[in-house]
Structure formats: structure tokens, C-alpha cells
């Protein structure tokens, strides 16, 4: 059985996590959570995975503030952020569409993004919906900026952007995304048409590899059971 769309995303994230020492998974993030558990299995346990909302995979004991303190201490290598809008300079908007404060559409809020985007070395932007309403030319509200001027303390920032159509990499110096791969069944043209900002595109864009059989077996076996503790509905659909 070939990989499902979800499995391709899990496999792609698991590859990105290779070599990292610690990753924290925020709430409502079953795909990154599953990918982190896959990466940990592949690394023989050497990747520390913390899944907020999980009892089994949470080692926080100092309250919710520990997430941010730990990141500030340099003890979190990778974090995932999303956004109702994301623009070509990797600015993200988790607040709302329209003119702030009386926005047309209000989203929950910035959560920890305005901090974690600065202090976590590798932030992976993950948003499955790849449409022009998400990937805009310029966000209506900057919850967290993609880059900062020289002199601003910023050991961290955006690293990759994974969507339902493809994988892009962010270049801090050039303040621009570049397409790295297109998921099976999709095209560069489809990505261009569904992205409201310009990005770099190599002459030949590879296809995002499907997870290899060992990874697929992990996803469909032990990982599905493990992630079910936190995301039972998601696990059942895997």
C-alpha cells in the first residue's frame, strides 16, 4: 500500500528532524507529533520529544512557562508554527484577517509565536492548506516577523515551510523562500498558482520522497499506537 498524503507529510517532517536533539510539539499538532515519534524511533531514542497535551510524552514539571524558559535556555532545537496567514518574508499572522483590532476574521491569537520564532534555532512552518488566502503577499498582522534587523537578539527563526503541496526552505539573508520539493501528485505550477508571494524555484524541482517501508511500518504500527494517547481520532484515521 502506497503512502497516504498524511504519511508523506509525516515522512517529510521526520527527515527534517534527523540529527536534532530535542523537539517540542505544540497543541493540535498530530502530524508533527507523529513525525517526531518516527524520528525518535529512527534515532534510537536520541531525539527528545515533548508533546504538549500528552501525559506520556511531556516531561514538563514547572508549569506552562517551562516551554518558553526551556527554549530560551537553548534546550529546544525544533518547534513548529503555523498561521492563518504566512507571507513571503516568513512573517506569520495568528491574530486575524482584516484591519486590526476590528478584524474581519479573528483567529485565536499569537500564542508563543512572537517569542519561540526568535529563540528556537529551527522553526518549521507547517500549514496543510496551501491556498492564496493563507500564503499572502503581506500578512495583515505580524504575530511574529520572519527576519529581524542586525543587532536584534535572534538565535532562531524560520527554517522550512511544509504545506500540503510541497516543501520550501527559507533563506534568512535573502528573506525569501525557495521551493525544495513538490509532493507526489502535485506540480510546481499548482504551487505557484496557490501562493500569493514570490519564491525562488530551481529549474528542476524534485518530488518529495515517499516514506520508505521502514518508516511506513513505524507509522502504521507503534507510532499510531503512541500518538493515539494524545490524538485518538487522528490515530484511528491513520
Amino acid at each position: 500500500m502506497s503512502a497516504s498524503k498524511t504519511e508523506i507529510l509525516i515522512g517529510a517532517i521526520a527527515r527534517l528532524l534527523e540529527g536534532s536533539r530535542s523537539v517540542v510539539i505544540g497543541n493540535q499538532s498530530p502530524i508533527p507529533g507523529s513525525a517526531a515519534l518516527v524520528a525518535r524511533a529512527l534515532a534510537g531514542g536520541a531525539l527528545r520529544v515533548t508533546i504538549l497535551g500528552s501525559r506520556r510524552h511531556t516531561d514538563f514539571t514547572n508549569g506552562g512557562v517551562e516551554t518558553f524558559d526551556r527554549a530560551a535556555q537553548g534546550r529546544v532545537d525544533v518547534f513548529f508554527l503555523g498561521g492563518g496567514q504566512i507571507d513571503g518574508a516568513a512573517n506569520i499572522n495568528l491574530v486575524g484577517a482584516g484591519e486590526y483590532p476590528r478584524v474581519d476574521v479573528r483567529w485565536p491569537g499569537s500564542f508563543g509565536s512572537a517569542y519561540l520564532y526568535f529563540v528556537v534555532p529551527r522553526v518549521i512552518l507547517f500549514r496543510e492548506e496551501h491556498t492564496p488566502r493563507v500564503f499572502v503577499r503581506k500578512v495583515d498582522f505580524v504575530s511574529a516577523p520572519g527576519t529581524s534587523p542586525p543587532g536584534v537578539y535572534r538565535p532562531g527563526g524560520p527554517w522550512k515551510l511544509l504545506t500540503g503541496l510541497g516543501l520550501l526552505a527559507f533563506d534568512q539573508a535573502r528573506r525569501r523562500f525557495a521551493l525544495e520539493s513538490v509532493h507526489p501528485g502535485h506540480t510546481v505550477e499548482e504551487i505557484v498558482a496557490n501562493t500569493g508571494f514570490e519564491f525562488d524555484c530551481p529549474a528542476r524541482v524534485p518530488t518529495t520522497p515517499e516514506p520508505d517501508p521502514r518508516v511506513l511500518a513505524l507509522i502504521r504500527g507503534p507510532i499510531r499506537d503512541e500518538i493515539a494517547e494524545t490524538y485518538p481520532k487522528f490515530a484511528a484515521a491513520l
Binding site: 512557562v65 518558553f68 479573528r106 491569537g109 499569537s110 500564542f111 529563540v119 511574529a144 543587532g151
Partner: protein
């Protein structure tokens, strides 16, 4: 101890216009007490969500109890943005101070420590800063040319939360939910609902005393079994996802929210339902 009272008296001790600190959904939200605030009804509350809120803030906003809210998010978990919060944003009917989680934590810790302000990394270039005249950017006194955001300390009038248990001296066991310790110390008064009241002195057990808020910080305690429902309490019960889903659906419209509210106020205490 005279800190013990019923839910209505606990809610009555939170005056209209008070600045009220409340915890995030997973850490012990005093929903049964919130219902008594709505029943009163409380007016003009200034919520400080530490650092986010869920159905608590949303229902208080919908019921007209809230003048202002400082929060990093209002989200009914997987059901998305709090509908009454979103409506209030569109209508401009509640003052919203958008923040980011570590900023609220840091400001509460500054209040707890009596610091006049606290610096925090990150934030620079976020529109949050542009819309928070109470936040400032200064030069790091130890490294000129290094800009840093400084936040004023938060000292809420009341911290309101739900915890697993209290003893008869008024000490409160909070387990891993350490943010509650910071909130109780930063606030001028603390009101707590608990699942149970036990006879032994929680401070005398060296295994558990480290996870106890001493009675000194706790002005009001009311018994409220399953008092976080429909939210959960770590180690005790999970959130009631079906009930949260029904809320999120109903609260999309003003009328739907009104029906939900009437049913909530009319319902027997959660304890009798279970």
C-alpha cells in the same frame, strides 16, 4: 478556617471591575465558579489569561461580564477560535490586549517578585508591540545597541482557578500546574475551587509539600467536584470534547450562545451529573 465558602460566595468575593487572572485550559480552570460569576452577573471584569483561555473567557465575554481581556489566545481546542471572543473583536465591544504566552508569564512572575518591570527577548518587530502602549523597548543596559522589550509587572486583583484538593488549613495542592503558584503570589487575593477537602495537613508531607500553595495566599476556597467541567483537570479527568464541541457550535451566533447559556445556568452542578 474562614476561607471556606460556597461557590456563590466565592464568586461574590470577585468584585465587578476586578482584574482576574485565570489559567489555560489544561491547568485547572474554575468553570463552576465561572458559572456563578455569570449568574450574578459580574460586570466589567478585566481578564488576564495566563497565558491563554478557552470556554471560560469565551463564555464570560458572551455573557457580557468582560470589559477587557489580555490574552495570547482564546481557543476552544480543536474547535478553533472562541466564537464570542471573535465576535467581540469584530464588534470592538471588548478591549483586547493581544499578547504572547511568555510575555504574560514573565509579567506575572514580575508581579510575584515585586519587580517593577521585566525584560523579555523576542517580540521586536511583532505588531503586538506596536499595539501595546504599555510595553516599551529600551536599550539593554549591559549592551548598548541591543534593543529589548520591557513589560510592566502584572498584579491582578484576584487569581481564580480550580485545583485537585485543599486541606482544612486552606493549603492547596496543585501538582505540576506551577503557573498557579505564580498567579497566586502575583495576585492580591486568590480564589480556588477544589475537587475535595482532605483532613491531613498538606504541608507536613515532604513528598507533596513542594506542590502546595500555602494558605497564606488563598483567601477563598469552595468545594466543586468536577469543577473544571467541561474542561479537564490533569490526572483527574479529561476534557469533555463533546460538550466543548456543542459549545463551539452553539456560540457561533448570539442566539445559539443565549440558549447554551440558559441551559448552563439551569443545569445542576456538574458533580450531580456524573
Amino acid at each position: 478556617m474562614d476561607s471556606f465558602c460556597d461557590l456563590a460566595a466565592l464568586a461574590a468575593a470577585i468584585p465587578d471591575g476586578a482584574t482576574v487572572a485565570v489559567p489555560s485550559a489544561p491547568f485547572g480552570v474554575a468553570m463552576a465558579a465561572t458559572r456563578e460569576l455569570v449568574r450574578r452577573p459580574a460586570r466589567g471584569l478585566r481578564l488576564v489569561c495566563v497565558p491563554t483561555s478557552s470556554i471560560q473567557a469565551d463564555a464570560l465575554i458572551g455573557a457580557g461580564c468582560v470589559a477587557a481581556i489580555e490574552t495570547s489566545a482564546v481557543s476552544i481546542g480543536e474547535y478553533g477560535t472562541g466564537p464570542r471572543f471573535a465576535a467581540a473583536a469584530r464588534e470592538g465591544s471588548v478591549r483586547i490586549l493581544d499578547a504572547t504566552c511568555p510575555a504574560i508569564h514573565a509579567a506575572i512572575q514580575a508581579g510575584m517578585k515585586g519587580l517593577p518591570f521585566i525584560p523579555l527577548r523576542g517580540l521586536l518587530g511583532s505588531d503586538l508591540v506596536a499595539h501595546r502602549p504599555d510595553w516599551k523597548v529600551i536599550d539593554n543596559p549591559f549592551a548598548p545597541g541591543d534593543p529589548v522589550v520591557v513589560l510592566p509587572a502584572l498584579r491582578p486583583d484576584v487569581a481564580l482557578f480550580h485545583a485537585p484538593r485543599a486541606d482544612r488549613h486552606g493549603n492547596v495542592f496543585i501538582g505540576r500546574s506551577r503557573d498557579l503558584v505564580n498567579m497566586a503570589q502575583a495576585a492580591r487575593a486568590t480564589a480556588v475551587t477544589v475537587e475535595e477537602v482532605v483532613d491531613d495537613d498538606l504541608l507536613q508531607d515532604p513528598e507533596r509539600a513542594g506542590a502546595v500553595i500555602p494558605a497564606l495566599y488563598v483567601e477563598r476556597i469552595a468545594l466543586a467536584p468536577r469543577g473544571a467541567w467541561p474542561l479537564g483537570l490533569p490526572g483527574r479527568y479529561a476534557p469533555d470534547d463533546a460538550a466543548l464541541g456543542r459549545y463551539a457550535q452553539a456560540a457561533r451566533t448570539r442566539e445559539g450562545f443565549a440558549s447554551w447559556l440558559a441551559a448552563w445556568l439551569a443545569a445542576a452542578p456538574a458533580a450531580e451529573r456524573t
